[in-house]
Assembly symmetry: none
Homo-oligomer: 259 residues x 2
């Protein structure tokens, strides 16, 4: 059973994540009128990712507070209503493909390559999440084998995505004329990969000897930090790219919007 | 145990602070279309600061009302659900770096200096809050030593921030051609420092002989007043600067936006 302090840590982290996601959403959306037509979709989608996440963090916060009740000073009891962790997977099913699309949209790619890359990355990321979820249900120490099987299954599309971000899109990154923009795009690619690499590590917390209530708290904390970096951090980098590229386009060499 | 009157004072102050933060947010955001492209981000961020604060005041209000119940005419009892004061620290972790960034954004600094100042001030303020929080948990009279240790620890980054605001940024302030703008920027710097100096004073209320329920009420009241000055007051000064500078830019000498 979880302690009062552990309950409060998860409660605070879920609330903090909600506030961070919502604040980022508003900033990104309020900046849309200031970027060039070509990059408005990328900025709107970056805001959608944090908006969808803020919705799910609010739901998780409510689900968490409904799962426990205070029975006295520092004492907790389960209410019987289960904490619904599936919110994270429903969130990722929507936000992870969108995150990859927002990256593709700010890169210098021919229209047909943008479309094909967005499609394959979108499908790979949806598969990764769909395969990962069933393993999340194996939590007790005697059936961690099942968790490993799904972890390995989800790692295959995961590695394909990482390979595409770091190697497959390298030519497009190198073709950026402005070194500041090139640096920002590299930043987006690396921060996405670094943040994403933390998810499979958090996933195997139960296999690393972290068990019971410590595993629950560790998983909630770990996923929340990774979400803030990969959604808010990367979203704000995407914003900087759209602003920099919009300024460069101001001198009249207009192109048609991608999305 | 807290009295009915004390309960009502905190209840009213938390509600008043929420209303003030929300009203300031709406005003600041509704004025965004009227300022020059260069200053839109500063105004949006000023509104984000009060928006994030209004979220946390709403949460604190709810947490406060859930921590106590009326058992009869003027009689209160604890419900067992603890009042979550950590909301203030999560709020500050987000809003204090943003507050410093909004000040940097309206100042006349070269782009690279803006970035480096925003980074160092952001890190210093996050460190100040992270160090201050553990001390906040020492409340009873026999372990105030721990509270002093964290107070001193948090004062170091605090003094660095004050020194940067009053001395480090002085050249940039003096370089403002318009005396009205210079006066406003000095106002922002001084009001920020004055409002911020109240936080470490409120923090040591328990060491000044204010104990028990009086300390709880005093801390909530003190922090709320300081928050309103440093977030709403400074936000409205920032607004005046963005409007004054936008008017000056109207005559055609356009520059690129900072953020």
């Amino acid at each position: 059973m979880i302690s009062g302090t552990q309950f409060t840590i998860v409660y605070d982290v879920l609330s903090f994540s909600f506030a961070t996601m919502m604040a980022t959403t508003i900033f990104l959306w309020m900046r849309v009128p200031s970027v060039h037509e070509k990059y408005k979709s990328a900025l709107i989608i970056s805001g959608l990712v944090t908006f969808i996440a803020s919705y799910h963090y609010l739901r998780m916060f409510n689900s968490w507070t409904e799962a426990y009740e205070w029975t006295g000073e520092g004492e907790l009891a389960k209410t019987g209503s289960p904490f619904n962790d599936a919110y994270r997977y429903m969130d990722w099913l929507l936000t992870v493909p969108l995150l990859l699309i927002e990256i593709i949209l700010v890169m210098k790619l021919p229209a047909d390559e943008s479309k094909s890359k967005a499609t394959t990355l979108g499908i790979a990321s949806a598969a990764m999440i769909a395969i990962g979820y069933p393993g999340e249900l194996f939590m007790s120490e005697d059936n961690l084998g099942g968790r490993w099987v799904y972890w390995i299954g989800a790692m295959l599309p995961f590695l394909y995505i990482v390979q595409t971000l770091l190697v497959g899109l390298n030519d497009a990154t190198q073709s950026e004329a402005d070194p500041a923009v090139r640096k920002l795009i590299k930043g987006v690619q690396w921060w996405t990969v670094i943040a994403w690499c933390t998810y499979p590590v958090v996933y195997i917390f139960p296999m690393m000897g972290i068990s019971g209530s410590n595993a629950i708290v560790g998983i909630q904390l770990g996923y929340s930090v990774s979400d803030i970096i990969s959604k808010c951090g990367v979203g704000l980098l995407i914003y900087q790219i759209t602003i920099a590229k919009s300024l460069a386009l101001k001198n009249g060499n207009e192109e048609t919007p991608l999305l």
